[in-house]
């Protein structure tokens, strides 16, 4: 017996989902269905994918109907995360659509005898030398796409594209501006009942006694999982509030001291991974040691997590704003003891989530209530306190750098050490389901400890820990905590935010110590021309410092190539530091290769930068020994309109280079540029996020 020849590699997610009809469908009425497995999370990906498809098929953009992903029929594209959607889904669709075009044209050529190179595609119609000879619509029902994508396909060159690469308005925005039902929260099904969960009073609390169900409500209790359901949302809400006041929990201290987090991160049992161990190129004449701390951060979505679930005839159907519907399906099936085929998860849009928030957890909450109410669709929505108190956070992190330089100040050695929990707790990745309520049940599943995604996918705590600079030697140690007192998972950029802050603030300090210009210093240590280009571009954008800067004025620059493989991004931040630090202006230059939707990409970069200002200046999850105390907007503050800086963005034109995502590239450089600007203004090196007055005085006191 001989093994079958391995199939040729296809681009992106097409490699694992090779059937063309799974991605593309034509309708006799002249519509095109495009069915990606990636999902809209407010980043505009659905619009960018539609552009790619329309361009490669040669149909008008308006003919494309983007279908929401569902485990029932969509290609399994894993997780919508890590700025990988254009690469994985976009390049799959580009290839699939080019293949579809080629197949339809070949059939038309054979049928009519018109040579292939004499057929032009005009908005889906096939035009030969003497007029129309066919169309996608005419052959819509002929099953031409019921085949695997061929490996060899002619893809358009950059110059041949007319839709991808241009600014197109977001497909989803009109519904959101006119208030039309589009979000998961707006889904209503006949016979729907409304549910709320009553989470334990604090982390690790055990249920002692639950009161009777309030009138008109039913309780679902399974171990420490408590939920209440009613015919109306108002009744369920009121019942949840009443129950929360009366229910008795056995609480205990399970969380570390918030003020001792540095020591906690250093001392906790951890798995150590050495990613680099190259000796220095010379003995340093001077060594700089720096340490950076960032607290736990919340996704802090504006919408609360919500799901709809219906359980009937041993089948579960769920509507969810999860970023990973296939992985969610796996964990739901495991918790409910169902075969995976008995669970279907449909994606519906939620509020922006920036990573793994509670979207998956609430789907299990809804499913548990649905199982207790067979046949009825159950809509379960979290409260704001659930959202800010129980969604997975981004791990607190400690990064330490030891940089050795020679007499000129040039690097000879670099040691980078990270102490952090893992940054991946998404469902479906562990021996045991990772959904919140799975560990609360009477027969609990063991709660997994967050891992780091492999370096090949960009890593987690180690993301962007590899300096892009010529450092001489390089030692890189990652300590992944084996305890997880506070549940954490993926937030925009994962470990990149703190690693980039650490590297870029250290580079700035090294330049200053050597009496060198920070831009020259970086350029001297860079080999990558694209990196140099974005730095030079942002310096040109920002222009000279003002002749008479106001009091407290500071400017700082930072740069990173996201994940070491993705978009290049350089930022100049201009701040004013008085009682508090205010960011006034940001200039951003980025290189993301081919850009599908220039305005959309700029918007993603700007949004990431504004959010990074919020992370840098305002945000910290707070807790006592028992529970999260920052569970309202009063206690978890984010940046508001009056504090948002002006943002100027430039994307370098690289139409012939492979496209990469841009959603996360600005986060680290923005935080680091602000830190460097603070030093410029105040002379203090910020080491502790967020850069509040209190933390800055702490860092000033700790300065050597």
């Amino acid at each position: 017996m001989t093994a079958a020849a391995p199939k040729p590699a296809l681009p992106g997610s097409l490699n694992a989902n090779r059937l063309l009809s799974q991605w593309i469908g034509f309708d006799k009425s002249g519509r095109v269905s495009i069915r990606p497995g990636k999902v809209e999370i407010g980043q505009g990906i659905v619009t960018a994918l539609a552009q790619i498809a329309a361009d490669e098929l040669d149909v008008a953009f308006e003919r494309i109907d983007m279908q929401p992903a569902t485990t029932a029929t969509s290609p399994n594209e894993g997780v919508t995360s890590g700025s990988r959607s254009v690469t994985e889904s976009g390049m799959a669709l580009r290839h699939a659509c080019a293949a579809a075009r080629q197949i339809f044209l070949s059939v038309t050529a054979q049928r009519t005898g018109v040579p292939l190179d004499r057929i032009e595609v005009v908005d889906g119609r096939f035009i030969g030398p003497s007029g129309e000879i066919g169309s996608y619509w005419a052959d819509a029902d002929t099953g031409l796409l019921a085949c695997e994508a061929p490996a060899k396909v002619k893809i358009k060159s950059a110059a041949e594209r007319s839709i991808a690469g241009t600014t197109v308005a977001r497909i989803d925005l009109p519904d959101k501006v006119f208030g039309l039902p589009r979000f998961i929260h707006d889904l209503r099904l006949p016979g729907m009942i409304f549910a709320r969960v009553v989470r334990p009073a604090t982390r690790g609390a055990r249920l002692v006694e639950a009161p009777e169900a309030p009138a008109g409500c039913s309780l679902v209790i399974d171990g420490n999982f408590v939920a209440v359901a009613a015919d109306t949302e108002a009744t369920a809400d009121a019942a949840a509030t009443k129950l929360a006041a009366r229910i008795r929990w056995d609480e205990r201290d399970t969380l570390p001291e918030q003020t001792e987090m540095r020591a906690f991160l250093r001392a906790s049992p951890a798995e150590k991974l050495t990613l680099a161990d190259q000796p220095g190129r010379a003995a340093p004449t001077q060594t700089l040691r720096t340490q950076f701390y960032r607290p736990y951060l919340s996704h802090a979505s504006i919408g609360v997590c919500c799901a709809v679930a219906r359980f009937a005839d041993d089948r579960l159907e769920v509507w969810s704003h999860s970023q990973s519907i296939f992985l969610l399906r796996k964990d739901l099936a495991r918790v409910l003891g169902l075969p995976i085929e008995a669970v279907t998860v449909h994606h519906r849009e939620g509020a922006g989530c920036y990573g793994h928030n509670g979207a998956d957890d609430v789907a299990l909450d809804a499913s548990l209530v649905a199982r207790a109410h067979p046949g009825s669709p159950v809509r379960l929505q979290w409260s704001r306190a659930d959202e800010l108190g129980w969604s997975p956070f981004s791990s607190a992190m400690l990064v330490e750098i030891e940089a050795g330089v020679d007499a000129k100040g040039d690097l000879v050695d670099w040691k980078h050490e990270v102490f952090s929990n893992g940054h991946l707790l998404r469902p479906g990745n562990f021996d045991s389901p990772s959904l919140l309520a799975a560990a609360e049940l009477a027969t609990p599943f063991e709660a997994p400890i967050a891992q780091n995604p492999p370096l090949a996918s960009g890593g987690g705590a180690d993301r962007n820990a590899f300096p892009i600079y010529r450092t001489g030697g390089l030692t890189l140690d990652i300590h992944r905590l084996l305890d997880m007192p506070i549940r954490v998972s993926s937030l925009r950029g994962l470990g990149a935010m703190v690693n980039v802050l650490a590297i870029e603030a250290t580079m700035d300090e090294l330049a200053a110590t050597a009496g060198r210009d920070p831009v020259e210093y970086r350029l001297t240590h860079l080999d990558d021309q694209r990196a140099k280009d974005v730095i030079e571009a942002v310096v040109a954008m920002a222009g000279p410092r003002p002749a008479a800067p106001p009091d407290g004025y500071g400017r700082g620059l930072a740069f990173a190539r996201y994940k070491g493989t993705s978009a290049y991004c350089a930022v100049v931040a201009e701040i004013e530091a008085e009682e508090q630090v205010r960011v006034r202006r940001l200039w951003i230059a980025a290189d993301a290769g081919e850009v599908i939707n220039p305005e959309g990409a700029a918007h993603q970069i700007e949004g990431g930068a504004v959010q990074a200002c919020s992370f840098a200046l305002k945000e910290a999850v707070t807790f006592d020994r028992r529970g999260i105390t920052s569970n309202a907007w009063e206690t978890y503050q984010i940046l508001r309109f009056e504090d948002v800086p002006q943002v100027m963005t430039q994307l370098l034109p690289r139409p012939d280079l492979p496209p990469v995502g841009v959603g996360e590239c600005a986060t680290g450089p923005t935080v680091a540029a602000i830190a460097n600007a603070i030093h410029d203004a105040l002379g203090v090196r910020p080491r502790t996020m967020p850069f509040t007055a209190d933390n800055l005085s702490l860092d000033m006191g700790n300065a050597p």
């Binding site: 999370i41 407010g42 980043q43 505009g44 308005a169 977001r170 989803d172 925005l173 009109p174 519904d175 959101k176 501006v177 006119f178 208030g179 039309l180 039902p181 589009r182 979000f183 929260h185 707006d186 209503r188 109306t232 949302e233 108002a234 809400d237 802090a300 979505s301 504006i302 919408g303 609360v304 849009e349 939620g350 509020a351 922006g352 920036y354 929505q381 409260s383 704001r384 305005e599 959309g600 918007h603 993603q604 700007e606 949004g607 990431g608 930068a609 504004v610 959010q611 309202a632 907007w633 009063e634 984010i638 508001r640 309109f641 009056e642 948002v644 002006q646 943002v647």
Partner: protein, 155 residues
């Protein structure tokens, strides 16, 4: 039974008097444009115009609007007859996830009624109660200024 004007027509709702206005409008009247964000008047997703003022609706009891004039984002305009603010938000692509936009539009509408020619700082102050997490703030500000310009040019 509570009767009030909703987007220009009279409605009456048979719900307990203390039902939050937001819940009544979303669930009983099936207008989903106003969003639940916090239930504590801290984010602005639920804002409606009540007698012309931008007000939170998530904690506000239903009976407090008896006989009053309530406008939700659906009452500002429709795809066929958009409000200048809605046109401007689309022109500026002022939104990412879009969850906050109804509240933004309502706050902006109240601002433009009171101050038809706001400067940028006034727009930021007027929207400061409304939270956006995606970082679409500057585009939203530009959209409000664009709508103000349009209203001035087409009296």
């Amino acid at each position: 039974m509570t009767a009030f004007y909703l987007n220009g027509t009279t409605v009456s709702v048979d719900l307990p008097a203390d039902t939050p206005l937001l819940t009544a409008i979303r669930n009983e009247l099936a207008l989903f444009g106003s969003r639940f964000g916090c239930g504590a008047e801290q984010c602005g997703s639920c804002m409606m115009l009540i007698d012309g003022q931008a007000e939170f609706s998530c904690t506000r009891p239903l009976d407090s609007v008896a006989g009053r004039d309530v406008i939700t984002v659906e009452g500002l305009g429709t795809p066929e007859h958009p409000h200048p603010l809605q046109q401007a938000f689309l022109a500026e692509q002022a939104g990412q996830c879009g969850y906050c936009l109804s509240g933004m539009l309502i706050s902006a509408a109240a601002l433009l009624s009171a101050n038809p020619q706001p400067d940028e700082a006034e727009v930021r102050t007027a929207l400061n109660r409304n939270l956006c997490r995606c970082g679409a703030h500057n585009r939203i500000v530009r959209a409000v200024l664009r709508a103000a310009d349009q209203l001035r040019d087409t009296p």
